[in-house]
């Protein structure tokens, strides 16, 4: 396979030096994966095998005891469900607010729009942890602690999403297209929904994956907002479960593996979208 963007790949790649690089990269790749592989493998081990040295990668006598035990001891499936709902709504909100705001800020020029865009970008510099406490007090005052809306409050908008869409709209959607539709008598709402939105599928897909992962891995905010086993997200449930006194490594690994595998699988499926989104964050300045 040669990549047209990289003439160097026309050169014979399987030189000794090239293969040496492959060996190094394979070793590094495996080392990066090793902690996760151990975690998943530990989930299937019997207590004696967990103590064995060297640790086995493939369990000698795989057992489902740990997984069944964890599903019995904790509402893990419920936590997964909570997290899916939370991440799903958060993603929907971020994608729709970014789409509309990015489009409007990119294609309409009212005199105060640059200032609005400036404020949106400026807030993205401030880490969430900085304003978490006042946000918590507001959620508390509204009586939304320990509820899904309270949880969502921190994850409804994303400045980077608005930035991404605005960038895309200004560079890739020609004004002539919008003007032509207007001349034909199309309303602004119709133009946005029927012409602009379908054209933004690419960046919105990347943004959706990014938003979903952000919510799926959220920790500090769900930790302070949720207050009991029924409302925990997966990350919070797991973090508090592992502080228990009586749990053993097998059960811990099983719970962690059950939490890990869906996110790893989802990432592998969505890799291109994800890489596109994250690489976009790297190019923003």
């Amino acid at each position: 396979m040669s990549d047209p963007d990289h003439p160097s790949s026309d050169v014979d790649r399987n030189t000794p030096a090239g293969l040496a690089i492959d060996v190094v990269l394979f070793a590094v790749g495996l080392m990066m994966l090793l902690p996760l592989v151990f975690l998943i493998s530990n989930a299937f081990k019997t207590p004696p095998e967990l103590l064995a040295w060297p640790p086995t990668i493939i369990p000698d006598r795989p057992t489902l005891e740990n997984i069944l035990g964890v599903l019995h001891e904790t509402p893990l499936l419920r936590w997964i469900g909570n997290t899916l709902i939370f991440a799903g709504i958060s993603t929907a909100s971020i994608v729709s607010t970014s789409a509309i705001a990015g489009y409007v800020l990119g294609k309409f020029d009212l005199p105060w729009f640059p200032a609005v865009f400036g404020v949106i970008i400026a807030t993205s510099v401030v880490p969430f942890e900085v304003y978490m406490i006042p946000l918590y007090l507001n959620v508390q005052a509204a009586g939304l602690l320990n509820t899904l809306p309270g949880l969502l409050v921190g994850y409804l908008v994303m400045s980077f999403g608005i930035f991404l869409v605005r960038q895309y709209v200004t560079t890739s959607i020609p004004d002539e297209l919008l003007e032509a539709a207007r001349v034909d008598g199309a309303g602004e709402g119709w133009i946005f929904l029927r012409i602009v939105l379908p054209l933004m599928r690419g960046p919105l897909g990347a943004l959706a994956v990014l938003a979903f992962f952000q919510a799926w891995t959220a920790f500090a905010w769900p930790l302070v907002v949720t207050a009991n086993k029924d409302t925990y997200t997966l990350e919070v449930g797991l973090a508090l479960f592992q502080t228990g006194f009586t749990v053993d490594i097998g059960h811990l690994s099983a719970a962690a593996a059950l939490a890990l595998v869906p996110s790893a699988l989802f990432f592998s499926l969505m890799r291109r979208n994800f890489v596109r989104g994250v690489a976009g964050t790297g190019l923003k300045e």
Partner: protein
Amino acid sequence: MRSKPKWLFPVLALLPVLGLYACLRVYPIAETLRLSLFKWNIISRRKPFVGFDNFVELMSDPLFLEAIFNTTIVAFGVLVITIPVGLALAALINSRQGLRRSGFYETSIFLPHVVSLVPAAMAWKWIFDARLGPLNALIGWFGIPAQSWLFDPALSLVCLIVLCSWQSIGYAVLIFLVGLKNVPEALYEAARLDGASSFQAFRYVAIPLLKPVMLYVSVITLISSYNIYAQAFVLASDVQGAPGHLVRVLVLDMLENSFRNYRVGYAAAEAVVLLVIVLVLTGAQFRLFRDRSRA
């Protein structure tokens, strides 16, 4: 057809988003700044204005100083590992770009950056575990005595740095790869014609061009390390009743002051310190960028 005013659609469409921003971003940020000047314990109706007293008290608060020391060590420790390792890996992967196997390299190195924090931290916690963990067994082979990684104050910092670097390297590699792809091939060709080896070409052609990207990744890495919390939370919490040494990081200290000690104004002052650190780092990045483009 009667025409509606031109500004109607954009303003109506933007309004809900602006409302969300006002309530969920602008107001809480302003409120953090305001609260940092007050002494308030959440419950009490009295909320006296104390000026900069909270900040003055922070400067002699041993727990806060410990937190800021630890967080700084971790942030720069992660930086020192992430940038060179990330750059080297990106260069190696870039040289194998287009081969099918490079997909495996990218995925395996990037995966730790995206998987959920808590299970990943739990995996490392087992590795570091003093009695059961493979790390002690491994160093035992080399005759190094077993260490209590998560209990010793200095070693638990090392553990945190290792865990955070493992997570941040993937991001650095990804951004460096984007940067490397933007280096014009003609420059490499020219270097090669001048007799440069591929290492020299990388060192003298790619690295100078990558400087802005390196700077960007450095700042992102530092900022995200100043915000760590979940990792410290998981590594320090107990396994089988044995609590690890708590690495007090900034966010942890802040949440403890706010939700355990009910010192909201004081915690807000800590948040402001965190904000200042982030702003200084961001500002430094912009400055360096500008200087470079002028030079």
